[in-house]
Symmetry: C2
Subunit: 295 residues, 2 copies
């Protein structure tokens, strides 16, 4: 069997035309080179060099081979260079999945500082529903995903990242409710605003209401935190929202939070990773940073 190392030795020898010099270049001794060349010649069944008194000289066969070997090793060299470049994060790509609201309110601040530090890493954000994100992580199309917990962890590792506190928020027209403490029952009879059917927030709310023996049946379904806040402040109804996401509206007095009889349970969010696949060099520092803050 041909040892590919012999080709490297062959190349140096062919270029220098001198076993001794080739040996020096390769940091080995001359007999070592002599031996390797002989092995290669034996394996190929041809003489590759004429041994002259002042060095060696490629035979026709050797000349023919040299072209191939040069190209081959050059390609490998290019490969190694590419890898080295990727190692310096140059070619890196960070693929994150998250819901729209988590992207905006949780991910964005982290991404900003991360991108400053690693400007060469291309960030690809995939907005999507939790279960879709998890699926894509399983398939290796995403490096990680920011999802609401609990998440079906088939083949995934979930790192809890912290909790978000949801609440019910309304605008001026419902100001009279501010002084009261509302039961789930009462809430369910008010006009409710919420995300659409299959969002995790919606599912969470339905489950909670069900546990309280009520039904969560929103009158208006909307697709983003912004729209819900907007509609609520206009008085269309009571919106179920994450408190942290509407800080601005609260501070400005456009929204206020309703008191509930029983506190809305906090919802954990977590970072989902593939349980076996190792993180790419580009993803590693990002994930590390994320987990540092809230492990």
């Amino acid at each position: 069997m041909i040892n590919l190392e012999w080709y490297r030795i062959f190349l140096h020898t062919a270029r220098t035309g001198n076993l001794t010099h080739a040996a020096k270049e390769l940091y080995v001794t001359q007999p070592s080179v002599s031996y390797a060349i002989k092995q290669l010649e034996a394996e190929l069944g041809v003489t590759l060099f004429h041994r002259l008194s002042k060095g060696v000289e490629l035979t026709e066969e050797g000349k023919a081979l040299l072209g191939f070997v040069e190209e081959s090793l050059a390609v490998l060299d290019a490969g190694e260079t590419r890898i080295a470049a990727m190692k310096r994060l140059g070619g890196g790509e960070l693929r994150i999945g998250a819901s729209q609201s988590l992207i905006k309110h949780v991910l964005l601040p982290h991404l900003n500082t991360f991108h400053e530090e690693y400007p060469d890493i291309r960030i690809r954000l995939s907005p999507g529903k939790t279960n879709i994100i998890l699926q894509r992580i399983r398939e290796g199309q995403l490096d990680c995903g920011l999802v609401h917990l609990p998440a079906a962890g088939e083949g995934l590792t979930i790192h809890p990242l912290g909790e978000l506190q949801d609440g019910f928020f309304a605008g001026a027209p419902f100001r009279h409710l501010a002084e009261r403490t509302l039961s789930t029952q009462e809430l369910s009879e008010l006009p409710l605003l919420s995300f659409s059917e299959d969002s995790s927030t919606r599912i969470f709310a339905e489950q909670w209401f069900a546990a309280e023996h009520s039904a969560f049946e929103p009158d208006i379904e909307l697709g983003s935190v912004e729209l819900l806040a907007e509609f609520a402040s206009e008085g269309f109804g009571i919106a179920l929202l994450t408190r942290a996401f509407v800080q601005k509206e609260l501070a400005a007095g456009r929204l206020f939070e309703l008191q509930t009889e029983r506190p809305v349970p906090p919802r954990a969010i977590g970072l989902a990773l593939h349980h076996e696949r190792k993180l790419s060099l580009a993803a590693r520092p990002f994930v590390d940073r994320l987990l540092e803050n809230a492990p």
Copy 2:
């Protein structure tokens, strides 16, 4: 230092996605493959495979590398194939130098049988003067040369191949000379036909005449055996020719040989080879055959 063998192992592993299978393909054990991959990863400083529970899977870096390695090893493969083809003499080339007359009368018969046996070897004949041929052998542009001896053997090996007998030939108008035995002196006074100044035949003749205290001064100089024979048979004079080369003309009676007082010394011819360079695979059998017949 990266061992190029690792790349071969990497390639098989990447293709099978399974260390165990790669190991089988390579006729080694699984830990061996595991070890090699780890070495390569350590040397490159990146992880090349995700280790999953049902095999391995290329990382981004691994995928990037794979293309290079595939190409590289394919090129080497092509090289080995080419060499194998050359070994079967397919790509062989036999470069012979010789004078015009030796080509026609000595080389041709050998070349015919040789070409029948090795039809794939391209034969390149270089007609030329002896010293030019020797020079080109020294430079490696010719594999061998058929030359008149003695030849200046600087850096060359000369194998004697046999002797050629020269003689003086004339046509019908000189028939009256046929019964006599001529001295060199007498010959020099007859109209002589010969090769041009720097041909080895001419030099040989001049030296011989000088040794006999005469001068060899041809009236007509011509460039080929055929022309000399033609002119001689037409009666232009006496031609100095190699006997074996004019057999046909002798048999047909168009020429006859003159008797000389002292026999023309035979001239040796030889095969000149480079003293250090090994013969190419294409040249080897030809030279062997040539030397077999007349060593």
